[in-house]
Symmetry: C2
């Protein structure tokens, strides 16, 4: 019931080609089995108001429209070409299109990069022509596009109606499936569809920006097998999702699926878990199952967001109230605690045996009086503890099931619900078991823009998406992302030296990097001699110490006998140093040994891991998890794209399945979460300052109630890229 | 396409009352808003062929049927009474029914045990009358029942048709919802429905037995909030599921849902995870989401089972093949590896760009020739590596989407699929994105008994259920459950003594119990004196030993300073014994100390936990999990009802999310799974022999590549029940 909140200002170059005033159909045909026929039918039947130019050297007229023998012979001013001819013809045709002033081409043919080898070569050739002639490419290997508000239906789909769901899908069957579901649902219509295919030129981020700007699109819905420029996509998604919902189904959640996807569009698939985390961070509403895409898109499009995650359930059947409670809890939503005044008002209108504890169970009170359900919804909507309202049961079916005479009261109930939806900012999500047969009261709700669901499960996905979106928007406006720090000359020099020596940072260098940027790193002293060790011993007194070898040549310190723990007193330190040096020399006689490092033993606490990688698709990404089996066996880790906001960092901790370990399970005190969040933010902000930092690994960091201790730190130096290159960038 | 495999021989006493030849409707009414009117309409309209006896003191005729002033005035021989009057009238009416020879009563009224207090009292009063007069009770607090093959439609549901899905649902709305879905689906019909309500007399196990015997029921489908006699249910489910599929949706998967459920039917809800494990062990097909109940019931009813979990996917769209691959992997199913000969045959019929690696992607080959999909299904069905076939895409819609002229070929394809389904034992599961609009080819498939799904997700749930069922049936016939061992007199005496002394078994007694029944327990010696300790020292030589206090008064041995580890040599043992005795005497000066126990230190390995509880609903249950965070934080444990089969024990290990730890993650060798399975079976078989064993806890057991070591064992003795009572039982 919410209006579209806004659009991005128009900057996308795609408007001309996705809403063209003239279209050339290359390979137009009178043979009804050909795509060049279908496209002509789609344009003519839907009443496209621009010019249509069929191109076919063997025909004068196609479907009553004058045909042209070649692209170059077309008069007028077509902006888009639909190319229906085989792959081999495409590069030549693109050049012709460019010469004719056509700005974009939709290329249906497959046989390009997705088949590898010669196909990939053909795609490169096509792109060279496209760049030389200024033609933008949709596809190749695409199912096509439509823009229903401009009556451009190049797929000639029957029974799709104009509406406000925009779709970008790397699967043509998925589009067909959504269109059939929408036809069946009867209320969802579409704005623009594009199949990005191989994304050889225009990619998901460009299409999403277009949908963000498109005034006809209320919700952008994407089926993605793989991104080309994931980093850019995250930025565009961040901007667009602040204006309108962005719904993404990402395939390849399993290795098996990733293999299938890469043979389909040749898409590079990163880790699914990471992709989900990063997209959610950018405000995207992720959908886990393909049959939830349309329900979630419809719900977000119409209802936009909820203020929080506290749901009031109004139900006329205890069993379904139970199912709803289970699903809400599984989805991380709460049953709102109704205020005493709300419960008193409910008691006033309901039978004594009704339950006014959420989930509210009317227990027969509405059997002869279904509009009372609307009254209950009004009562709970006024409760400050409630963020959204979920009606569960047989509303709309009372007149079918009990007595036709109830129809009038049901229609009054529907009107009251529509009025409530217009009066409140809290979303009303309605599940009715009568949805499949579309009784009048439900039709009325749908017509008024209230979605009505046929599945409790789908309804709860919508409630969860509304809550997530509300939460995202709230933090979006209150939590800025960390700015990159200024790189320090001394540290820059340290990276340069490591590069020059062809090595990564030494542990103490990595820790220095952290320390200089505000991370609390326990005092460490490198002792290069007996004398320096004596100084260190004096400095630490009788604090128990750890000692480790310092050598660029010894990576696995423990294996080399290069680590000794719990050392107290100068004598123990000297003995340990001798033992370590002897052992390391025996381990690798050629190792260049700088000395030993001494540091206080870490306090007891929980081991966590903080890592940074530069992902080829998504750029710099921060990883956080608990140490040991949690990360190794259970893969219980969280990812965020750098830079992070404070909310991002905090939500990484909350997201872990084993977060209870940090919250003080097993009789321990809860760890200092604020200190941990600060640490994550400090890491986020220093990474961008040093382009040579390729990977960072703090493993372990010990966290406890008093703070944290970075026990080990590794920094991998990028030795492949030319630095000057990066600095220019 | 499989015939119903069989039925249990008839033993259920419910046949008379669920398929009665005469029905009394107590509270029959001419008021169309009353249930007593609805029921009359249902019976008359559906053409019930037995006698109908409306009972209403204020009417002579109701809906054209002669009414009777009271139950006792009814002539003839009604077997069932439908009681539509308020709760308070019920006990008296039950007595009247009994005197009139009526064998069963359906009691619609609520206000019994589910509201507690006086309601519970009223329920007891009713049950006393029922038992005294030999009347069986359906309900109370039930939505009613129907038996469509006998034209008994007490709910007066429109548009349900007779079929082979039997339903027992503790939620009336759930039944309505399934009926509407079935109406919409157009192909699912129902046999018998019963709402068990409060199960004050007849419970789920009785109804399930009835459905198992009912010749009209091909699949039993249950919505359960709580069981009354879970142990009995498991046994009945085991028997019935060997003959026909049993599908269960259990609500209360979360604490929030359990709370909602218990206020609905007053049902006791055990741990959801345990319930799921035990029901699956009994051959039940568990459904996780309510919107999957009907698809899974239909699929299992028609397709019955698969030989294994290797699925061949035939697809005409790469994107949906990817989604299918993801869902299959998530559901624990495999993509079958097609044989070279299968792939060669596929290559022969498909375009060169098609993928013949599973998932098979026809890549346009079928656009003008959709029946080729059936050919592909025939080819993969002949492959020995394939257990089931999954068609994914737009079959049925080619003639809608591409050209009407394809209809003939599509119909030929559908015929070929029907023929294939009849010729092979491998199930064909068909998803079409055109399912919502029911095109002719899909209607043909449905009419021939092949289910057609509208969601990839639901299709995969069906494939998983078929695979699970096939696996269950295979092991059911090959893996007998362990028999209880004969109790040993000495151990019986040990339990008696512990009972007499009001204590649990001491650790060494618990270990003796295990040892006597074949469990390998490390040698342990109890040293009650210096001299005995010297003997023990001689016996163990220089093996490192652990020493623990033996005292019935000291439960937390470590807290009392009663444990010392890694002791080598006699001197160390004597020193340790002195220290332990001193510390324990200081800890509890009144403690009666028997001595110390010495045993070799356990080898390195993985800590696991084996527990036995006697659950109030399900009886003796074995629990298995990994130690530490896995069980405490992640609740990663498996449950099986005792007795177990070898398959049960083995599947407990495989079921753990962290099973990789046992399979040799982190560079360790895999543990000896066979030894672990033997241990689980030994525990299973000894528990039943000792009714006084209330709980058993082996924590930890260390397992490694060489076997296992039971490090600690606790046995809680049942001190409440009278032993003679149990022995009689």
């Amino acid at each position: 019931m919410n209006p579209i909140e806004g659009h991005l200002p128009s900057r996308s170059p795609l408007h001309d080609i996705l809403a063209p005033t003239g279209i050339a159909v290359i390979g137009a045909s009178s043979d009804s089995t050909k795509r060049g026929y279908k496209a002509m039918v789609g344009l003519i039947k839907d009443g496209y108001r621009g010019e249509i130019y069929p191109v076919n050297p063997k025909a004068d007229m196609i479907l009553g429209v004058k045909a042209w023998p070649s692209v170059t012979s077309i008069p007028g001013n077509p902006q888009l070409a639909l190319i229906c001819t085989p792959a081999a013809t495409v590069p030549g045709l693109i050049a012709e299109c460019g010469r004719r002033g056509i700005k974009g081409a939709v290329i249906l043919a497959s046989g390009f990069a997705e088949v590898g080898g010669e196909g990939a070569e053909l795609e490169r050739e096509m792109m060279a022509k496209a760049e030389a002639h200024g033609v933008r490419i949709i596809g190749p290997n695409t199912s096509g596009m439509f823009n229903l508000h401009h009556r451009i239906n190049l797929l000639a789909l029957d029974n799709v109606k104009p509406g406000d769901v925009g779709i970008i899908s790397q699967s043509g069957n998925m589009l067909l499936s959504l269109a059939l579901e929408a036809q069946h649902n009867g209320h969802v219509g579409f704005s623009t569809y594009v199949g990005p295919g191989n994304q050889s030129d225009i990619g998901f981020n460009d299409y999403l920006r277009y949908l963000g700007e498109d005034e006809h699109t209320r919700v952008a819905t994407l089926y993605v097998e793989g991104f080309r420029d994931g980093r850019k996509f995250l930025e565009v998604a961040r901007e667009v999702s602040a204006m309108k919902p962005v719904v993404v189904y990402k395939s390849g959640s399993t290795e098996q699926g990733q293999k299938a996807a890469s043979s389909h569009t040749g898409a590079l698939a990163g880790s699914y878990a990471m992709t989900v985390d990063l997209l959610r961070q950018s405000g995207v509403s992720m959908v886990q199952y393909s049959d939830e895409i349309l329900p979630v898109a419809e719900g977000l499009g119409l209802l936009q967001k909820a203020r929080g995650k506290r749901v009031a359930v109004i139900s006329d059947g205890g069993g379904q109230a139970t199912i709803a409670s289970d699903r809400l809890a599984e989805a991380g939503l709460e049953l709102a605690e109704l205020s005493e005044s709300t419960r008193a008002q409910l008691r006033e209108v309901l039978f004594p045996q009704a339950s006014t504890v959420n989930p509210v169970d009317v227990a027969g009170s509405t059997d002869a009086n279904p509009s009372l359900l609307a009254t209950c919804m009004e009562i709970v909507a006024a409760d400050d503890n409630v963020d959204s309202i979920f009606l569960v049961g047989m509303f709309g079916g009372y007149s079918v099931r009990f007595a036709e005479s109830l129809l009038g009261d049901e229609m009054r109930g529907a009107e009251a619900m529509v009025d409530l939806a217009n009066a409140t900012e809290k979303p009303l999500v309605i599940y009715s078991l009568y949805t499949p047969i579309k009784p009048p009261a439900l039709r009325r709700l749908h017509e008024a823009g209230l979605p009505v669901y046929a599945s409790i499960e789908h309804s709860v996905r919508v409630l969860a998406a509304l809550g997530d979106r509300g939460q995202h928007l709230a933090q979006y406006h209150s939590h800025a992302r960390t700015a990159a720090v200024e790189p320090l000359p001394a540290l820059d020099a340290m990276f340069r030296q490591a590069r020059a020596e062809g090595r990564d940072l030494l542990e103490y260098e990595a820790k220095q990097l952290l320390r200089e940027h505000g991370v609390v790193v326990p005092l460490e002293l490198v002792a290069r001699s007996e004398a320096e060790l004596a100084e260190a011993a004096a400095r630490f007194g009788d604090t128990p110490l750890a000692m480790k070898i310092v050598s660029r040549d010894i990576l696995h310190k423990s294996d080399a006998g290069g680590v000794r723990l719990n050392l107290v007193g100068e004598a123990a330190l000297h003995e340990a140093r001798e033992a370590i040096l002897a052992s390391c020399r025996a381990y690798d006689p050629d190792a260049e040994i700088e000395g030993v490092l001494v540091t206080p033993m870490a306090q007891k606490g929980v081991e966590v891991i903080i890592g940074v990688i530069r992902d080829p698709i998504f750029g710099p990404v921060l990883m956080f998890g608990l140490g040991g089996v949690f990360v190794e066996i259970l893969e219980d880790v969280a990812f965020r794209a750098i830079p992070l906001s404070r909310h991002d960092a905090s939500s990484m901790v909350d997201q872990l399945k084993a977060r209870r370990v940090l919250e003080g399970a097993r009789g321990e005190a809860a760890v200092d979460k604020e200190a941990l969040v600060d640490l994550l933010l400090q890491v986020s902000s220093l990474v961008e300052a040093y382009p040579d930092l390729k990977e960072l690994d703090l493993n372990p960091v010990i966290v406890n109630a008093d703070g944290y201790a970075v026990v080990d730190a590794r920094v991998i130096v990028d030795r492949e890229t030319d630095v000057s290159d990066k600095e220019a960038h």
